[in-house]
Subunit: 235 residues, 2 copies
Amino acid sequence: MEKLEMLYEGKAKKIYSTEDTDKVIVEYKDDATAFNGEKKGQISEKGKLNAKISTIFFELLEEKGIPTHLVEQLNETDVLTKKLDIILVEVVMRNIAAGSIAKRLGLEEGTELKKPVLEFYYKSDELGDPMINEYHIYAEELATKEELDMIKDLAFKINEILVEFLADKGIDLVDFKLEFGKGADGQVYLGDEISPDTCRFWDSKTKKKLDKDRFRRDLGEVEGAYQEILRRLEA
Amino acid sequence: MEKLEMLYEGKAKKIYSTEDTDKVIVEYKDDATAFNGEKKGQISEKGKLNAKISTIFFELLEEKGIPTHLVEQLNETDVLTKKLDIILVEVVMRNIAAGSIAKRLGLEEGTELKKPVLEFYYKSDELGDPMINEYHIYAEELATKEELDMIKDLAFKINEILVEFLADKGIDLVDFKLEFGKGADGQVYLGDEISPDTCRFWDSKTKKKLDKDRFRRDLGEVEGAYQEILRRLEA
Ligand SMILES: Nc1ncnc2c1ncn2[C@@H]1O[C@H](COP(=O)(O)OP(=O)(O)O)[C@@H](O)[C@H]1O
Ligand SMILES: Nc1ncnc2c1ncn2[C@@H]1O[C@H](COP(=O)(O)OP(=O)(O)O)[C@@H](O)[C@H]1O
Ligand SMILES: [Mg+2]
Ligand SMILES: [Mg+2]
């Protein structure tokens, strides 16, 4: 399958049309951004690392019965996927307090949450991705109740699958962001990516951060952390 | 029933114990605050006006089958209520965009929401009353699923009752805040107050604000607006 036209260039990926109108090619870039685009940089090899890491997670989820956009990885940076009509709601799942939830609830970073927490954010660069709830979603008609019930169910299932899988690799899954969309058949699929750009991964023993927080907070060894994640997933 | 000990002094009310350990006396004050206590002032006669206005709303809700803390108004500023163990979750119901939701969703003030929107806020002066969702509530054990299902159901019912009642009085119910608590019998009751301090009321024709936004935004005629609400409720 060949790339035809570039349909969209985002902060971390480019999306290309293909001869199959129901499929797109997702090209992973080395570009890194944080704080709603205010901080910009590059993480060398990130495109390749995230294409591979995300594919491993999506293959695992497919195996466990989660409907995802994955078709197949085409080469080091390019992945063929179902073309989705992305639902403008980002879903965040959290197991351990870090980032905004620590501030919101007055919890120390690292506090284990008594129950996994799901959060919705309005995917809008203009509005700065504000946190929203189900009722905002219905009032703004971002998704239907049926779609949202499906998305919530999938998000909790995905969390369970990933937590278990990663625990085995010595990684704590602190939190992660998901995007869903509707395929040509009208069904809901998991889209976008699952990678150190979109998850917080901590080493289970040392609690060392192995994710984009190293870039956000200038902790150094950014590429090394992404490589370490891939190494453990492939072990 | 006599006031015994002052149990709590809040921003707008004082709570007193009584000889019946399951009941308290709520005394309404003239003090007004806004922006999480940053702006402070007095609205003359507010205590009396809100005690009366809130009692009218609570009597209406009781009549319509909503379980509330109201026992009876004792005098101009004092209301006898069931003593509640207040659930630390403020419930906001919105019909028209104003205040934080206008900013959050990029809507012009006055935009009618396609569906009523319910929002939860963590009642914590320290944290600045952050917006939270159901999953935060479960993780922080602020309420159980049963309590929250009851609260959501009551909030939407209360909204319907108040919208209809107020439309008849030429008032648009833009939004309002509710607090719930558990009584001595373990049941969930509507507590706190419903008044121009806790609601946005707009004149249906002129859209003139008849609520605490006149104080927040220094629009003048604050006491007159509260009086106008009481006048219409009694008409
Ligand atoms: N299967 C898919 N079909 C269509 N669009 C997709 C698919 N998967 C992800 N996208 C979208 O591709 C865009 C590019 O990704 P990214 O660079 O991460 O963008 P952003 O800057 O919006 O985060 C995003 O808007 C994402 O929602
Ligand atoms: N029936 C009740 N029993 C016990 N406490 C109540 C009852 N109704 C309201 N309260 C509480 O009384 C306190 C005083 O009210 P208020 O002055 O509005 O306080 P605040 O400054 O917390 O908003 C609030 O904390 C409110 O939750
Ligand atoms: Mg993205
Ligand atoms: Mg109050």
